[in-house]
Amino acid sequence: MKHMTEEELIAYLEGVASERTEIAGHLSRCTSCRTELKRIEAVLAALDTLPVPDPGEGYGRRVWQQIAPRLPERPSRWWQAWLEPKHLAAIGSLAAMVLVAFYIGRISKPVSPGNVTVSQEQVRERILVVAVGAHLGRTEMMLVELSNTEPRDRNQKQVNISAEQHRAQDLLEENRLYRQTALNEGDAQLASILDELERVLLDVAHSPDEVTPAQLEAIRQKIESRGILFKVRVVGKELQQRERTSAPAPAQNYSSKKERNKV
């Protein structure tokens, strides 16, 4: 008889097993799996005894008294949230993209009605190219700075990387947007590179503000082992070339995407 795996038993106990009936059926017949289930249950039952302190009667009232002086007279309107610094950067990027699109529209030759669809696609792709190129430049700079961060001296126990961490958080938001756009535009290779970059940015964004030299070295090694800086540079250069070419032919696009795929 094939026994249940630990994963299946835990999923069953936590109520997230997809094959619940099958597992229940097996457990009714198999003593060995039932014993194993009880062992896991015993650990969970012990954990259930950990107390949560009672915050006391009137806790809600106390919380209100503590936060009320810090609340503005009215909650902010939805558009006010967009005036926060991190969103202002995104608005700036968006405005730049619109301006670039407008500029490209002005300098491009008039097209015959039959070519309208192709031309719009090219414009969209170029907007993506310009915006992603700039994004990769900023990301590269942050990663290089992080890679070059050193403790001031041997005795320094903590290195502050909060600046890079905050930049990584902002870049992460941008990166998600561009990856999604690349996917929508059918540029799977660019989306894949951005996806890889996202994982590195996540690692950095989720690091503590202050790290030990050993932790810093581990982050650095992660960046190096994935070869992400190299990939970012290659894709960044390629995007610059695509940006310079005023009207790239579909064949060139295809070959450039293939090149990137080799990275």
């Binding site: 630990e6 994963e7 835990i10 999923a11 106990l13 936590e14 109520g15 997230v16 062992r39 896991i40 015993a42 650990v43 969970l44 012990a46 954990l47 259930d48 005894t49 950990l50 107390p51 949560v52 302190p53 915050p55 806790y59 809600g60 009232r61 919380v63 209100w64 503590q66 936060i67 009320a68 810090r70 609340l71 503005p72 007279e73 009215r74 909650p75 902010s76 309107r77 939805w78 949230a81 989720h206 503590p208 503000d209």
Partner: protein, 215 residues
């Protein structure tokens, strides 16, 4: 006590009204929401952060953020679920900053009277509070806190939200920003790690109980 579905609906309707009034400029209407949901948010925050001070800060910050972003909430889910999710996200940030301090605190903090009352061994029938039994339960509690503190932020969040708070996988996925299958896997990893860390102690407790009954 779990709310009945009619109760839950009535609370959600009252919450929606309080949100509307707050957005209309009646700041005191937000007080109703704070008073109604503080204890639930505190329980989640305490289980995630493992200490009262951080939990209280998470509660305050969650309601502050909820107030600041109330216009964006716009009734897309019920207020309780929404503020709960804000609290879970903030608790993850808080855990990240406090991880090391928590680990140190677990090792040095004396067990409170409250902890002894909630002694896992004391819940066993005929258990006598012998010095050995007390020492074992203290040891077990210390080990349980250390095992929880050793989980990654995602694992602890997934375990707390699923095992203790009974949240759905989709809700946990939204907090962890991961897929359903990845979230299920995180729940599994959390329980597996807890089991590896605690099984020897739980086994020892069972043995001790058996010996206690014989004597």
């Amino acid at each position: 006590m779990p709310a009945t579905s009619e109760n839950a609906q009535a609370i959600a309707a009252n919450d929606a009204l309080a949100v509307e009034r707050t957005l209309a400029g009646e700041r005191d209407a937000f007080r109703i929401l704070v008073e109604r949901h503080s204890r639930t948010v505190f329980r989640l925050a305490y289980r995630m952060t493992g200490n009262r001070q951080d939990a209280e800060e998470v509660v305050q910050e969650a309601f502050l953020r909820a107030y600041q972003n109330l216009a964006r909430f716009a009734g897309t889910s019920n207020f309780g679920t929404w503020v709960y999710r804000i609290a879970a996200n903030y608790a993850i940030d808080r855990m990240r900053h406090r991880k090391k301090e928590d680990a140190r605190r677990v090792l040095h903090e004396p067990i409170s009277e409250e902890g002894i009352q909630d002694d896992p061994m004391a819940k066993v029938e005929d258990a006598k509070p012998t010095p050995e039994r007390l020492a074992q339960s203290r040891e077990l509690r210390k080990q349980m806190e250390a095992a929880l503190a050793a989980l990654s932020h995602a694992e602890r969040t997934a375990f707390v939200m699923r095992h203790w708070e009974g949240c759905g996988i989709e809700e946990i996925s939204a907090v962890l920003k991961s897929s359903s299958s990845a979230t299920k896997n995180t729940v599994f990893r959390a329980v597996q790690k807890l089991r590896q860390a605690l099984q020897p102690f739980v086994g020892r407790g069972e043995q001790a109980r058996a010996m206690g009954m014989e004597s």
